[in-house]
């Protein structure tokens, strides 16, 4: 079979229904074939980075691997940020890149880059297909690797003469990867030990991350929490895995976590970490993180266990399977004193803000109010607006929060929202953006318009690179070095130029009506909301400080 045809067959065999791709010399034969395949929806972003983030957003909301294709050389290097972003957040993705002919590799040929070399440290695995006969097997392996164990992006570099070759090999039914066998079941003895520790703990906290969402075990987390009366704090990647509105929820912890989450972790005697990796944005000063606690760590990736903190009971395996083993052994407990203490912290240190003026927090609260009964997905860019979204929007279901955690990529949100909308056409999809971030992939407004994706874009416009400005204000004597964006373009005009209706909001009183209008509008819509310029995200743990020592919003 012709390579290009076999390529398309291989995608169909993996149930791929959408591909984000951008053409180029090395891909012309492949696109010539793809365009005729009616079972795969093809989306042309306006920049390869947009394509990669769109595939990532698609994967986050559907749980299926996102697929992106870019041409050799600059097309491939434009994918790099998108691949790294998916890697840091363990998102299943398969990225294909065109490559020069195999006989030219290494010659500095036109549009040649050593993509496997460039991406080696930012993906789960990568391949340069040199022998056409290996292509079907490699594609099969790539999807398997991307979606199993700890998910992640896999990159396949495809020289032109590989895809145009006549290939005899068939698509294999199974993969043969002798070095890859993720451990799934928890060690029964360790599980029993963990259960005993939970049953004996007086002040336990359940700390959950994105692994819960990848593993698909949110219901079990709820069962465990309710059975054991365990207060739950999600990381930013874990938002939506446990309802923010649940009485056992402590909301997010860490650098911009709630005071009550950070206090609970600091005072707990047992920390049960599930699908989370003790990132520095979560732990702050590591020596003072959960100082009195014994630690149980459930994770599929052995390298995450005991990496940043020593663990008392490591449990390597799939979170869902381990919880299934663990839950029957956990006894129900009232934990009255501990829960009362937590309620007191919640009363004393609630999330709050000064309500004068047009505050970003107010926009998010109003948005939550307007959308809580609808199927909604919130995507964000990176910065203050992202943290306010994490804190002031209430997430109650998994895969409804799409945000760049590990890499913190400005420019992620807009393309991710388009991938999310394609993955979940029946959901109301928002991109909460900063005025800085939106300009990093603003060309994707064309893709949104072109495909009539009804994404609602809300720019919380403070005319600043606000998150950096906040650090400058707090830690650099208010010297705002290169963070002032007072000469931003007119976002309404930009949006309209792309054919997307838009509105500027300058007063608090107009927020509700504007949101209603955007939501009611059938197609995409953009709101440029001029928020209080110097509002800060609080509470905040200064970098490297213990998470119990927060500043702002504490009185």
């Amino acid at each position: 079979m012709k390579g290009t045809k076999l390529f398309v067959e291989s995608l169909l065999n993996e149930n791929v229904d959408v591909v984000f791709g951008y053409p180029g010399g090395a891909l012309i034969p492949l696109f010539d074939e793809l365009v005729d395949c009616k079972k795969i929806r093809f989306i042309l972003p306006r920049h390869e980075q947009g394509g990669a983030h769109a595939a990532d957003g698609y994967a986050r909301v559907t749980g299926k691997p996102g697929v992106v294709i870019a041409t050799s050389g600059p097309g491939a290097t434009n994918l790099v940020t998108g691949i790294a972003n998916a890697y840091m957040d363990s998102i299943p993705m398969v990225a294909f890149t065109g490559q020069v002919k195999t006989n030219l590799i290494g010659n500095d040929a036109f549009q040649e880059v050593d993509l496997t070399g460039i991406t080696r440290s930012i993906c789960k695995h990568n391949y340069l297909v040199k022998n056409p006969e290996e292509m079907p097997e490699i594609i099969k392996e790539a999807f398997h690797l991307a979606t199993t164990g700890r998910p992640g992006p896999v990159v396949i570099d495809l020289p032109v003469n590989v895809t145009t070759a006549d290939i005899k090999a068939k698509i294999p039914k199974t993969v043969n990867l002798p070095g890859y066998k993720p451990n799934m079941e928890g060690n029964p003895k360790q599980v029993a030990k963990a259960a005993e520790m939970i049953n004996e703990a007086e002040r336990p906290v359940l700390y959950i991350g994105g692994g819960i969402i990848s593993s698909g075990c949110c219901d079990q987390i709820k069962t465990l929490a309710e059975k054991g009366n365990l207060p739950v704090t999600p990381t930013m990647m874990g938002l939506g895995a446990f309802p923010d509105t649940h009485k056992l929820s402590l909301n997010m912890l860490g650098m911009h976590g709630t005071a009550y989450a950070n206090y609970a972790v600091t005072h707990c005697d047992l920390l049960i970490a599930v699908g989370a990796r003790f990132d520095d944005r979560v732990t702050g000063k590591i020596e003072e993180f959960a100082p009195d606690a014994k630690i149980i760590h459930i994770d599929i990736d052995p390298t995450s266990v005991s990496k940043n903190v020593p663990v008392d009971v490591p449990l390597v395996g799939d979170a869902g399977r381990i919880l299934k083993q663990l839950i029957p052994q956990v006894k129900s407990q009232p934990r009255k004193a501990w829960l009362a203490q937590i309620d007191q912290w919640k009363k004393d240190f609630p999330l709050k803000y000064d309500e004068k003026g047009l505050k970003p927090q107010f926009v998010l609260e109003t948005l939550y109010d307007q959308t809580k009964s609808k199927k909604t997905i919130i995507c964000t860019e990176v910065g203050q607006h992202q943290m306010w979204s994490a804190l002031f929007y209430k997430f109650t279901k998994p895969r409804t929060w799409v945000s760049s955690g590990g890499l913190g990529t400005m420019g992620f949100g807009l393309p991710a929202s388009m991938g999310a909308q394609i993955g979940k056409p029946d959901h109301l999809v928002f991109n909460i953006a900063g005025d800085g971030s939106i300009q990093m992939n603003i060309q994707e407004l064309a893709t949104i318009k072109n495909n009539n994706l009804p994404v609602k874009i809300i720019i919380l416009n403070n005319h600043y690179l606000g998150m950096v400005r906040q650090w400058q204000q707090l830690f650099f004597n208010g010297k705002y070095a290169h963070t002032d964006l007072c000469d931003n373009p007119d976002f309404v005009k930009i949006s309209e130029a792309y054919g997307i209706p838009a509105m500027c909001v300058e007063k608090k009183e107009d927020v509700l009506a504007a949101l209603k209008k955007a939501i009611a509008h059938k197609g995409p819509f953009l709101l440029d909301i001029r928020v209080d310029r110097e509002e800060n995200v609080f509470p905040m743990v200064p970098a490297g400080e213990a998470i119990s020592r927060m500043i702002g919003g504490m009185a």
């Binding site: 496997t116 070399g117 080696r120 440290s121 789960k124 695995h125 340069l128 040199k130 690797l145 990867l177 002798p178 070095g179 890859y180 990736d301 052995p302 390298t303 005991s306 990496k307 020593p310």
Partner: protein, 158 residues
């Protein structure tokens, strides 16, 4: 602490780059790395000598094992094993000193593999200490060139 860790990997293109890249990306302190084929031509074995505290060494073992191409990781710290380094060394050696050097070489079970008018090339294999000791004895003659393979190791018995 210094451990000898070996990884049996699939003999695929790029696998050496993956291992080397892993060490540099994670900031592991690598002292030597030896690579070669095994009894099974589809696999090769990489032996690394790496320094660090137990937490770092645990990460090294786990990160190596996590590579998709890695089939098995062994740490020889607690296993009885045979360890070897191979060295080629070229020293200044005028004819009148040959007899004297030969004596030292014999004690170390080295072999002379090349003789020049005023030079001698010697091959020595063995444990690190032995080779280090030999190098020290050669210093007074003048070492012109030296190359070592890096450690390889194999567990004793089955």
């Amino acid at each position: 602490m210094r451990h000898i860790i070996s990884a049996t990997v699939q003999n695929k293109p790029g696998v050496l780059a993956r291992v080397a890249g892993l060490f540099s990306a994670r900031g592991f302190n690598i002292e030597s790395l030896a690579v070669g084929e095994t009894e099974d031509p589809t696999r090769s074995r990489m032996t690394v000598v790496v320094g660090g505290d137990e937490a770092i060494l645990e990460q090294v073992r786990k990160q190596l094992a996590k590579l998709i191409d890695t089939i098995k990781v062994q740490d020889f710290q607690t296993t009885p094993c045979v360890k070897r380094d191979l060295m080629l060394i070229k020293i200044k050696c005028p004819p009148q000193k040959r007899a004297e050097t030969m004596e030292i070489i014999n004690v170390f079970r080295g072999r002379v593999v090349d003789l020049g008018e005023k030079t001698m090339m010697i091959e020595v294999a063995g444990e690190e200490d032995k080779i280090d000791a030999f190098v020290n004895l050669m210093r007074p003659y003048g070492i012109l060139e030296m190359v070592r393979t890096g450690r390889i190791a194999m567990a004793r018995g089955e």
